[in-house]
Amino acid sequence: MTSDIVFFLLAAISVFTALMVVFSKSPIYSVMWLIACFFSIAGHYVMLNAQFLAIVHIIVYAGAIMVLMLFTVMLLNLNKESEPHKSILSKSIGIITGGMLFLVLLAAMRSTQLGPYSAPETTDVGFVQKVGMKLFTDYLLPFEMTSVLFIAAMIGSVVLAKKERNI
């Protein structure tokens, strides 16, 4: 029962913060709400016994990505409300479409046949050891490839963000 309560609590926080991300006026606030949202999701991970992922999630998202975002927002001086508003019409169309997508996904979910899973023999699926074993045996090649991807992304972003002098 306690776990249900924890879940609902976390879920409420997630949804609320997500909505705030979308609806807050200033980008700075959006970033902040998003960080909060990520933390709640990390909570979900812990609830699902995926400790490794929870930690990585916080490090990568909250620690790295969001800091990067924050820096960018400040660098571009976007913290003040500079965004011209969209018309009510286009806003409502967006909301309606999003809502409809939600309904459709809901309908899809309802018609989904979940499980039945054979009861998991172990509960340590999310432990560092397990994930590490997987990562370094079955998924070794993709794992190594990600490093290549990262280097490419790094170089790419440096090149893109660099000031072009000779134009």
């Binding site: 286009s90 967006g94 479409t97 409809m100 459709v104 309908a107 899809a108």
Partner: protein
Amino acid sequence: MEQFIQPINLIAPSLWVPLLPLLGFFLLTFFGKQLKSAGPWIASLLVLGSFLLSVYLFVNLGNKQSLDYDVFTWMHWGEVSLNFGFLIDPLSLIMLLVITGIGFLIHLYSIGYMHHDEGFVRFFSYLNLFIFFMLLLVMGNSYLIMFIGWEGVGLCSYLLIGFWYTNDAYNDAAKKAFIMNRIGDLGFLLGMFFMLFYLGGLDFATVLSNAAEFEKGAPLLVVITLLLFVGAMGKSAQLPLYTWLPDAMAGPTPVSALIHAATMVTAGIYMIVRSNILFSLAPFTLEVVMWVGVATSLFAAIIGIKQNDIKKVLAYSTVSQLGLMFAALGLGAYTSGMFHVVTHAFFKALLFLGAGSVIHAMGGEQDMRRMGGLWKYIKVTAITFLIATLAISGIFPFAGFFSKDEILAAAFHHKIVWVLLSVSSMITAFYMFRLFFLTFFTSFRGTEEEKHHLHESPWTMTLPLAILSLFAIGAGFLGMPAVMHMPHWFNGFLAPVVETSKSILGEAHHVDHNTEIMLMLLATALAVTSIVIAYVFYVSRKTVPEPDTETKGLAKWVAKKFYIDELYNAVFVKPMMVLSDVFHVVIDKLVIDLFVNASAWMVGFTGRTLRLVQTGNTGFYLFIMVFAMMVLLLIQLVQ
């Protein structure tokens, strides 16, 4: 034919008959330069070799035996197999002797005639090739092999007519000959398809024995024979496909003698005699053959009257004589037609060679209006020419008399044909003597220079003339009329070939002896009358045909050959050219490419239209993306 036994030992010699000239062709083509002036002699000797082999075969085979063997399988599919094989029977033997014999003489003659030509060696290689194909034509044991020869001689005819290839008019004539022949060949080819499909093969034995199963007048046989006759019309220059032959005189004169008088053009007659059973079973075709022959004979004879080129006259006379032969075939007198082929080969070759000798003496001049009085300059030529002219006019006892008389006798029961053929013979006698008198009598009408140049030809040319004139005199005695109480050797020799036809056609209409004698006398009288008329015109009155520009009225029509060439040009050639351009410019470039380009334009148009959807508004793109995702999910759900 079952009584024939195969004399195996004769196969090898018979194979060498066509191979020798082929060897000559290759030798002269590839080693012509090395052989130098020996080349033509080698070529001639090889043909002589063929002739001797033919004589050997003739002596050993006689008409009681025949050779029929396959060398290898040429084409085959499924159950059908078409073999490359030879048949030597009395009919082919006669043709073999004529071809190789006259062929050799003409080779010999050409050594003298073509001596100064730069294409001397090339000429002989073509001649050898021609002999090869002609031998293939008469030796084949199936229509297919005959067809090889048939097309092959067409090719050689093309090569030899256009021998002087720098002259475009000659090239045109050569091309015309080839194409006209090809029209006929298509008929032949289709005829072969019918035979292959319905008669189960193409070799003579199969076709003729299977055809004999059909009743007389069966439509299939009529179709086949008509198609074959189309082929014969092309090759043997019958109406309406005759126009190439007069033009073919562009070739060197020995070629005209060999190909366009003695041998190739008689291939059509050979073919019909070869398939006489088919034709006898198709009376309708025989009727057609007869009328075409009669019409051609008369038509060409009339044109012959007004020609002034010595070779053109001879050409029309050839067409006319061929018509006569076809008329004989149409009357069912196969052996008579064949007999005339043989005698005609001798005297027409002689005429052409004589004409060649005249042209040689005149230094290339062919217009009779510029000749005259040549008798005293070139005696040998003149005498042999006279013999040949008498022979073609049908004067006793020259060869033409006997063969022509036989045909007229066969036509006697068919009065209209008989009258027309007699008229045609009479005209023949007239224009031949017109030619003779204009050339050899009265006084010389050429330039002084030409007069100075006049000389008798070398022995290589006069010897063939002499030999041929012996045959022109004597060949007739091979087939003595019944009234002379001598055996008709020729008919007897060919009897095995036509015996089935005889039984199909029934007994020929025999004229009794008195009538026959009367017919002979009448024919001779008509010929003599013509000669006298010609004498009065061209010797006594010394008439010389007027220049071309002054010809008027009907005479002009005749001199211009009734404008048949112009008619063909306007009806077939020109429209074809226009059609060609229309197809190319209108249908290809406009109609079909319109569709092609229209589809290309459609693609472009669609692109230009769909481009407008790309507003560049990122928000809009996002919206569309989400919306489309939703729709896809919905579709998935609904299903």
